[in-house]
Each structure stands twice: as C-alpha cells, then as structure tokens.
C-alpha cells in the first residue's frame, strides 16, 4: 500500500476532474443543511477513482455537483476544464453517468434506451466510433435490441444502462452505486466487464460505492469521504498486490470509514 495525496500525485493541469474547496449547502424552509464542505481532490485522465463513505457523507451530492445538476455554494468544480453547472453545453456527450438502478425507460426497447442520450444531446450516431448496436454487442446484448426492459434480467438491464452511458463516447464516466443492487455473481461479472471496458478505452471514472471490496477490486485510487464530504483518506490501490496486502488495505479503508464521524486525524498516505 502506498501513501498518496488527494490529487493522486499529479500535476493540477493534467486533472480531468477538479474539486477545489467545494462547499454545498441546501436551504429548506429557512433551514440550512451543510452537505459538503472543503472538498478538494483531482482525478487524472484515464484514472479509475472509487469514492467510499458512509451514508449522508455527501457522495450523492458529489455526483450531482459533477453532473452539474447542482451549483456549488462555494469553491470550484471542474470537469474537463468546464464548470458542469454553468457550461454543460460544452460537456454534452463528454460526461455521462451510470446510476444506481438501471433507470431504463420502460416504454423504450433496449436499442431505443441506449440511443436516448444521442437523441437528447443531438449527437449523430454515424459520427461516433461505436454505434448503439456495437455497444450492445460488446456487452453481450446483441440478441435483445428489440426487447423491453421488463423482459430482461437485472444484470442485462444494468448492461443496457452501461451501454446507454457509453454510447456518446464520453471521456468521463460517473458510476453512482451502479452495481449495488445486483446479486454477487452477476455483479462480479458486470464489474469485471465494466473495468475492462473503461481500461481499454482510457476513460476517466469516478465510481461512488458503499462496497470497500468493490472499490479495492476496481479502483486505481480510493477516496474515503468523511462528514460533510471532507476527505479523510486517499489510497492508491493499483499498486497493491497479493491477498494479504489487499486485506490490509481493506481493513484500513474500513477503519477510516468507520471512524468517519470523528474529525480526521491525518491524511493517510499509504504504507
């Protein structure tokens, strides 16, 4: 296990994703709730970063900030050098998300669901290196392009959701608890295929997950969020090999997640 800072030892200029001292408050009925405060990290091109943390520690808010669905109350959020909230037009098709649950439109066939982002973003399929059908083939869904979501298994539905997220050939993919609802066997196969696809296509991934095991299996780097989205620790996972070292890493991440309510004592930089 190697120590690491929150920027993954990279030059800030190389960052594909940059959060700098981000704060997000929600105001409801005059009451202010602080969701995220002082969140800073960067992600390099082609990096696969998993974000773990306890419920209520700002993981969903982070996804919404990166997708530009929410503005930051203070600080800077940048994806590919753009503010996703104010400059989403310049990120159209370059940023996509695989959500928790497949979120397939039940009235659309598999192929029509995959094509949905292209229709909304106004991207012509023929200008893309891989068409919707190519993605279905890559994900083993070539036999079911005309099927409706209710006719598919949970695993197949999640593969369709993956194809939908990748069809616009995005540079950055957010995965928000994307495999959480699948059974262990199905989940393992899909995660493995997803990791392979992301690695071979050089995409940058931020993967929000509750599962420490999933994070250590998939990630190059793991960020642990504490209270109000403050980063408690960051671990390099790509250089950890061997069952014992991986167990040790998992144990350390678990300890950081479990102690997340207490103020972070130090930034874990690895061993």
């Amino acid at each position: 296990m190697r120590s690491d800072n929150f920027s993954g030892n990279m030059d800030i200029a190389d960052a594909v994703i940059r959060c700098d001292n981000v704060r997000k408050e929600f105001v409801r009925d005059g009451n202010r709730t602080l969701a995220v405060d002082g969140l800073s990290f960067t992600v390099a091109r082609g990096e696969y970063v998993c974000v773990v943390g306890r419920t209520g520690h700002g993981k969903s808010t982070l996804v919404n900030l990166l997708l530009g669905l929410l503005p930051a109350s203070a600080g800077t959020v940048e994806v590919l050098g753009r503010d996703p909230y104010r400059q989403f037009d310049q990120l159209k098709g370059r940023l996509s998300c695989i959500f928790q649950g497949d979120r397939l439109l039940p009235w659309r066939t598999v192929l029509a669901n995959v094509r949905l982002p292209l229709e909304i973003l106004g991207i012509r399929e023929r200008t893309l290196p891989l068409h919707a059908m190519d993605w279905l083939k890559r994900l083993g869904l070539q036999e079911v392009p005309g099927a409706y979501p209710h006719e598919l298994s949970g695993g197949m539905r999640q593969r369709v959701a993956m194809a939908r997220a990748l069809v616009s050939d995005p540079e950055v993919v957010l995965a928000d608890e994307a495999f959480a609802h699948l059974d262990a066997v199905t989940g393992d196969r899909i995660k493995s295929d997803f990791r392979q696809l992301m690695r071979s296509s050089g995409k940058t991934v931020i993967h929000i997950t509750h599962s420490i095991e999933e994070a250590t299996t998939l990630a190059d780097r793991i960020i642990v969020l504490g209270e109000h989205g403050r980063i408690r620790a960051s671990f390099r996972a790509d250089s950890v090999h061997g069952a014992h070292a991986i167990d040790e890493l998992r144990h350390e991440i678990y300890r950081q997640v479990a102690n997340a309510e207490r103020p972070a004592l130090s930034v874990v930089s690895g061993k």
Binding site: L67, G68, L69, F88, D89, K92, C97, F99, Q100, G101, R103, L105, P106, W107, R108, L116, P117, E119, I120, L121, Y148, P149, H150
Partner: protein, 265 residues
C-alpha cells in the same frame, strides 16, 4: 417441483378454473331480459313495451333514412371533436402545471369547482349564454370533461418516478424534449383511462344537451320519439348510441394494446 405444483401449496385451495372466452352467464342474463320483454310486449301497449320486431324495424328505418344517418354522424362528430378539444386543452394545462408549480396551484381550485357543478347546470348556462347549438354542446362537453382529463394528467405527471426524471434531466433536455421523451410516454396509461371515462361522460352530456337545447342529433331524435310516444324509435336510437360506445371502446382497446405493448401483462 415448482412451489405451485406441490401438494402442500395447493392443499386447501380449489384448483383455478379455466373460464371460456365466451361469457355464457352474461348471455343467459340477456336472453332472460329479451324473453321477459317479449312477454311484456304481449301484455302492454307498444308505447310502453314495443315488440322486438318493431324495434328491429325502427333500427332498420334509421339506417335507411338520410336525415337519421346525418343525425348519427352529427352526434358522433360533436362528441369526438369536443372531447379532442377538451383533451388538448387539459394536456396543455396539465403539462404547464407540471413545469410551473404556481400554475398547478392556480388551476387546482378552479378544476375542483368545475367538477362540482353538475353537467345539467352547464347545459342550462350554455342554452342561456350561446345562441349557436354547436357552441352550446362543445362548451358543455369541454367544461364537463376537462376536470377528469386534467386530474388524470396531473396524477400521471406526479407518478413519474424521480429516478427516471433525474436520469433524463441529467442529459439537460429542452422542455420540448422532456415532454416528448419522458412526459407523454409516461402519461399514456392515464391518457387512455381519461379517454375511456370521458367517452361515456361526453356521450351522456352530448345527448342531454341535444335533448334539452338542440335541434339536431341523436338527442333531438330521442326527444321527438318521446313526444310521439314512439318507444320503438327511442330504443332504436339508444341501440345506436350503445353501438358507438362499444366501437369506441374497442378502438381504445386496440390503441391500448399498441401503445402499451411495453407493459407487463
């Protein structure tokens, strides 16, 4: 062995009976009514219980008479045109309210008020307000069916799951794209229910309006039959109306099958 086929699972339960597609029980009820009617026709004068033969002759007369056929078309066109207008108006209002909470809040009390006024009151208002018969009927159908359509659309929009809405909104659709890609397809089940409910309401209201304030259409023909004590003609016109409702329901069932092929059945 599947759970349903195990003796434990079926113990104490009657085996599910396979019912034939043809409803024998329903047919028996109709047969009993027909026989009873025919007996009554022998015992009472024709202005109370005309024989089935004279009713059949009256139906045949309707389809031979160009004036009667134009009355049928006139009523059908009135119903369908006014319902289409009410549907379009409520769809626009419902979607507008879906985008603007303030619009929804403004419309809700008005729609509740409209729903509380009986259709016959609207007919009286329409007779007093409008000289033109077509305008009267269109107004009454529109005002009577708007609340039902509006509620269906409102409920349909509220029922769109947040996760689907969030997924589509993450792509930053235009309002028109949001309507076309998410709202309208989500609303299809509610829209079809709205049409089913309002075809019945629209038919009743149109006939009432023609009966009370019209000078044409099936309602007017029913009034003539009543004034002339022609029960056979009144029943014949009623049969024409029932036929219309059956045909439109069948058409809706076909549309339902086509548009909702994606639903688990």
């Amino acid at each position: 062995m599947s759970p349903t086929s195990s003796p434990e699972a079926t113990a104490g339960q009657a085996p599910a009976r396979h019912w034939p597609a043809f409803n024998v029980e329903g047919a028996v009820v109709f047969a009993v009514i027909i026989v009873a009617w025919q007996i009554a026709a022998r015992l009472f004068p024709p202005f109370l219980f005309p024989s089935l033969g004279s009713v059949a002759t009256a139906i045949a007369d309707i389809f031979r008479d160009p004036v009667a056929i134009s009355a049928i078309w006139l009523t059908y066109v009135r119903i369908l045109a006014s319902l289409t207008a009410a549907f379009a108006l409520s769809l626009l209002a419902g979607i507008w309210a879906g985008f603007q909470v303030r619009v929804g809040r403004a419309l809700l009390p008005l729609v509740q008020f409209l729903q509380g006024v009986p259709a016959v009151c609207w007919i009286i208002f329409a007779v007093l307000w409008f000289r033109n018969t077509e305008l009267r009927i269109a107004f009454v159908i529109l005002i009577s069916t708007f609340p039902s359509f509006y509620y269906q659309i409102r409920e349909g929009l509220l029922a769109i799951p947040d996760d689907l809405s969030g997924m589509v909104r993450a792509l930053r659709p235009t309002r028109w794209q949001l309507v076309r890609k998410l709202m309208l397809p989500s609303l299809v089940p509610q829209l079809l229910t709205g049409w089913r409910l309002n075809l019945g309401t629209g038919t009743k209201v149109t006939i009432m309006a023609e009966l009370l304030g019209g000078i044409s259409g099936i309602g007017y023909q029913l009034r003539l039959a009543q004034e002339l004590f022609r029960m056979d003609r009144a029943i014949a016109w009623t049969a024409v109306l029932v036929f219309f409702v059956l045909v439109t329901n069948k058409a809706l069932a076909l549309i339902d099958k086509r548009l909702l092929a994606w639903r688990v059945r």
